[in-house]
């Protein structure tokens, strides 16, 4: 897949956005998870039928590492995404997000309901139940984090993700990038990933597909129905044999679900 990176100067917070662009067809904005931006089989699949725009969260990917310090609040971040859509010339767009990216997709859709045509949420965070607390993923060792993220470790995209660079310098940079990405996204969810989204979800008008891995150990699949109850026009698909990243763990099952929904 030919992926290019567009540089967009954003007025809000003086942020220089970096957006990965690939494919052709109706546009889809993809918001990545807390671990950082990457390009994966799921984005390849989306790009097979759509023009995919995948911005890097401030401080991660191709953006300046220190850029995160100019984005003070969650509201600033939502306005940055709104202005990224301005810069891309997208008046109405389907939005998909995984985990933390799913939360940001909801925030964007709640802020500008008319701007989001369809919404795909893959195991989003952003709500909190005392009877099913979200695992404090930022505090886990790498081993525990992997065990928490995946229930189907054998899936090829998971194995691809778990590969470590053999060059020590490359490994150091990758490790630092991952930790920093958790920190940059963590700015908007620490210490409890509940910043009032529950009170804003009613504003979302987009038809919404909620996909959740049955065995998600980071945020329980019981949250799927909570999102569905609060979003006016939502459908839930629970994926058996998957944890927090069903689009990798059961790629063949999730791919057609999402593509059909976006058609």
């Amino acid at each position: 897949m030919n992926v290019t990176v567009e540089t967009l100067p954003i007025a809000h917070c003086g942020f220089e956005a970096k957006v990965k662009v690939a494919g052709s067809g109706p546009p889809v904005l993809y918001l990545h998870s807390a671990g950082g931006p990457g390009w994966d089989v799921f984005l390849d699949a989306l790009a097979g039928e759509h023009t995919v725009y995948a911005p890097d969260h401030p401080g991660t990917g191709d953006t300046a590492r220190e850029a995160i310090h100019d984005v003070d609040t969650l509201w600033d971040l939502v306005l940055i995404y709104d202005e990224i859509l301005d810069a891309l010339g997208l008046t109405s767009v389907a939005v998909a997000g995984s985990s933390y990216g799913g939360m940001m997709a909801c925030e964007l859709a709640a802020h500008r309901p008319e701007r989001v045509s369809r919404l795909v949420l893959l195991d989003p965070i952003g709500l909190w139940r005392d009877d099913a607390p979200v695992t404090p993923y930022m505090l886990l060792s790498p081993e525990r984090l992997v065990a928490t993220l995946f229930s189907n470790l054998d899936a090829a995209p998971v194995q691809e993700f778990l590969k470590v660079p053999s060059d020590p310098k490359e490994f150091a940079v990758k490790t630092a990038d991952t930790i920093w990405s958790l920190g940059c996204t963590g700015k908007f969810v620490w210490p409890i990933p509940d910043k009032g989204l529950r009170r804003r979800l009613h504003r979302i008008t987009a038809s919404t597909l909620i996909v959740w891995g049955r065995d998600d150990a980071l945020i329980s699949s019981v949250y799927a129905q909570d999102f569905a109850d609060l979003i006016a026009n939502a459908r839930v698909e629970i994926i058996e044999g998957a944890g927090h990243v069903p689009q990798w763990e059961q790629f063949d099952r999730v791919r057609p679900l999402v593509l059909d929904f976006l058609r």
Binding site: R65, E66, I68, H69, D72, M138, L139, L140, S141, P142, P168, K169, A172, V173, T175, A176, I179, W180, S181, L182, G183, C184, G186, K187, W190, P191
Partner: protein, 415 residues
């Protein structure tokens, strides 16, 4: 050299299988299974007695610090204990520095609370405060106190600016910062020392903290449990950075913390301190790295520097220290343990090699009982302290980072 007796006030009794039973000495050690309030009262009281013992026996300072939700050291506010040492040393006419190393301004809201408390200590001690300004461990600030990791360093810098202005401004002012907003500031009380008490910045080998110190001409305290040899890589880099920033090699720019156990002979010292060392390294330092510094707490450059330099020996103290026995810990120099002569020679050599003008020995560590700690302090004071205090005479090396009232007693002077 200046020598401060430093104390963490640890929980001194834990079950033998503590480290197997619980994932961490911080946050994850349940009070309701382990804690005993009566014992804690006794520990606090003993710890204060140990600090006062050192003050009476000629140490230059007594030091306390802040940690939360743990068995490692639980002075939730060091200024509660600083108030006790300030008052008691005042009453006894003991000319020692009150070293607070310190209260964590980034995790205190509003941070002028610390400006007030430090001013109280400086007033009460008659101008003997050294104001420590730790960034704070991530596990304390982020986990126990909920501060967003990636904001901690920014908060810390802003809090220090606010504190300095609150101490020195001769006008009412409003503070409209990024993290703190206050409509009208007119701090009461203010410190005796003018323009403000000397500052000391502790750190754990983060390169951005060195730069912070050198940019502002502030002294740095390297807090390590792995002894002088392992600190060489860190302190060499600290001095390289000093040179790059146009600062001289004045040893009083640097402080170093060191676990020390003294007995009549080397053999006796090893036997006597072995189990307390293992208690400290196996139980109290039982902290996984992800908990110690959650993502974002260390800035990107420092993190990359750390990962590529192999500067630190242990990346996971919760697992890598477990195979080591007391003898290994002593041989590797984590703790300086031996007869007065051995300890004196090792500490003197270390201070010269690291070029550190301020040593902070920890003379009660781990499960060490009160009587043993008192004896350790006595042996140190009699057989080690005088030699150390003669190092780096202050008529040769200017110590601008010590309470002025106390500099007249410097070695080479009237001491």
């Amino acid at each position: 050299m200046r020598v401060t007796s430093f104390h963490f006030m640890p929980y001194r009794e834990l079950p033998a299988d503590f480290a197997e039973r619980y994932p961490s000495s911080f946050v994850e050690a349940p009070w309701w299974e382990l804690g005993d309030a009566d014992k804690v009262g006794q520990y606090y009281s003993w710890s204060l007695d140990e600090l006062m013992h050192a003050a009476r026996l000629g140490f230059d300072g007594v030091g306390t610090n802040e940690h939360h939700q743990n068995v490692y050291g639980f002075m939730c506010n060091p200024n509660l204990f600083g108030a006790v040492t300030a008052k008691m040393t005042r009453d006894e006419g003991l000319d020692v520095a009150i070293l607070q190393l310190g209260a964590t301004v980034a995790a205190t809201s509003p941070p002028i609370r610390i400006a007030e408390e430090y001013a109280v200590l400086d007033c009460l001690s008659g101008g003997r405060l050294i104001a420590g300004l730790p960034l704070g461990l991530g596990v304390d600030a982020n986990v126990s106190y909920g501060i967003t990791p990636i904001e901690q360093r920014g908060r810390w810098r802003e809090a220090i600016e606010l504190m300095l202005k609150a101490w020195t401004a001769k006008e009412f002012f409003a503070w409209n910062g990024k993290y703190y907003q206050l409509p009208r500031v007119n701090l009461w009380p203010r410190p005796v020392q003018q323009p403000h008490p000397p500052l000391l910045v502790p750190g754990a080998a983060s390169s951005s903290t060195w730069d912070y110190c050198h940019d502002r001409d502030l002294p740095y305290a390297y807090l390590s449990y792995f002894g002088g040899r392992s600190a060489e890589a860190v302190m060499d880099r600290f001095w390289d950075r000093a040179e790059a920033k146009g600062r001289d090699r004045n040893p009083y720019r640097a402080s170093f913390l060191q676990l020390v156990g003294v007995a009549e002979t080397d053999e006796q010292a090893e036997v006597q301190y072995a189990k307390h060392l293992e208690f400290f390294y196996h139980n109290l330092l039982h902290v996984p790295p992800g908990l110690l510094a959650p993502p974002g707490q260390s800035d990107y450059r420092s993190m990359l520097n750390l990962f590529t330099s192999n500067m630190l020996e242990f990346s996971d103290m919760s697992t890598e220290l477990k195979p080591l026995r007391a003898r290994d810990m002593i041989q590797r120099g984590f703790a300086v343990v031996g007869s007065p002569a051995t300890v004196r020679d090792q500490l003197t050599g270390m201070a010269r090699r690291l070029n550190v003008g301020h040593l902070m020995p920890v003379l009660q560590f781990g499960s060490m009982p009160h009587e043993m700690a008192m004896r350790n302090i006595e042996l140190f004071a009699a057989g080690v302290l005088p030699s150390l205090q003669r190092l780096f005479p202050e008529d040769e090396f200017e110590n601008r980072w010590w309470p002025k009232r106390l500099t007249k007693t410097a070695a080479g002077g009237s001491r």
